[in-house]
Symmetry: C2
Subunit: 236 residues, 2 copies
Amino acid sequence: MPQVEVCYTPQAYHLFHNDDAIVVVIDILRATSAITTAFYNGVSKMIPVATVEEAKALQEKGYMAAAERNGEMIEGFELGNSPFGYMNNKVKGKTIAISTTNGTQAIAAACNASEIVIGSFLNLDVLTEYLREQKRNVILLCAGWKNKFNLEDTLFAGAVADALINKEGFDVHCDSAIAAGHLYHLAKHDLFGFLSNSSHRNRLAKLDLERDIKYCLTPNQCPVIPVMRDGVLIKK
Amino acid sequence: MPQVEVCYTPQAYHLFHNDDAIVVVIDILRATSAITTAFYNGVSKMIPVATVEEAKALQEKGYMAAAERNGEMIEGFELGNSPFGYMNNKVKGKTIAISTTNGTQAIAAACNASEIVIGSFLNLDVLTEYLREQKRNVILLCAGWKNKFNLEDTLFAGAVADALINKEGFDVHCDSAIAAGHLYHLAKHDLFGFLSNSSHRNRLAKLDLERDIKYCLTPNQCPVIPVMRDGVLIKK
């Protein structure tokens, strides 16, 4: 039986890596929610890069570019990581370079994975269905916050883990997957309320981003699966 | 207000370290349960060391020595990390060197902390009371399993965090402390049952250690606080 594991931070990914697993990168607030939204709104390709300098260099080559640090868009870039920035005809058909505080770091940490897909509540059901069909080991990689555990990524990991384990017969021998599943069950009827004390929700609330948070926590609004091919994200 | 944080693995400790915090090292199955039991049963001092070779070297100098890897006592040592090994007149008044798979690694990770104390369900109430009185920041450091998150250490961290936050007014801005508190609330009426699917409980069950597990999950049997002074654990 395939196994499902949850890795809470990019720093710990090397302890989980195995050559055949599909890695789902998760940064709910907001990188992977923004990426899912971008592809649903017609973006052609995205180039995730770890540093702002790399994003700048690609911008100078003529790419549209997005950069965010600590919740805020960096000056000089067209986009940050607010999903609402990607609901726009300007992005249609474009290739966009993107660097964010945590999400693109998690993608970088998993660069040796045989397959990387992007997960968010926005594509929860199509992603789970895809993983079910592959019958391969799954590593749910949470971006966290600067290599610390965060709640919102864990809740999403719990939603996927729970669906695979309970309905699809995946095996679990991983305490972090068990814990994530428990936390998702506690939270699922009111994700927004459950996160009211969480560190990143408070960080974003200070930036007046409650609308972003509500959007990012509403499942299945963008049924697309972004997938990495040769260092570039495309729509599956 | 003092803050309480939970660090799930020794690998991540550097992200949490601050110079004035008290660090509680937690390895419920079984190192910190064994250490708490040892001091309750009259052991005088314990010297935690990261490697088996260091434990061997201290044994050759005449110390009583304990060593465990992957749940089993290492041949040639008097003790492993079963608490029952320390309920014995042989250990009274002795100084014991100890090296275990995870617990002594966590102690080593926190070596720069201003104060290290040992936590287990066996000393839950006296430890919480002590932390409350200090009015200092607290880092609850879980030993985990080979730098992966584990459930039993997290439940204990949740029990302490919850007591400090809800009854004693400590601040929490740490998602891992919030998550640990939620998990403890789910589990507290049947810790043994809650852990029935956990990875380490299954690992130990295969070694026929159910009696050890039940003992380690029963609160307040050993009201003592082991504390580190100059590299050596003593009873506070």
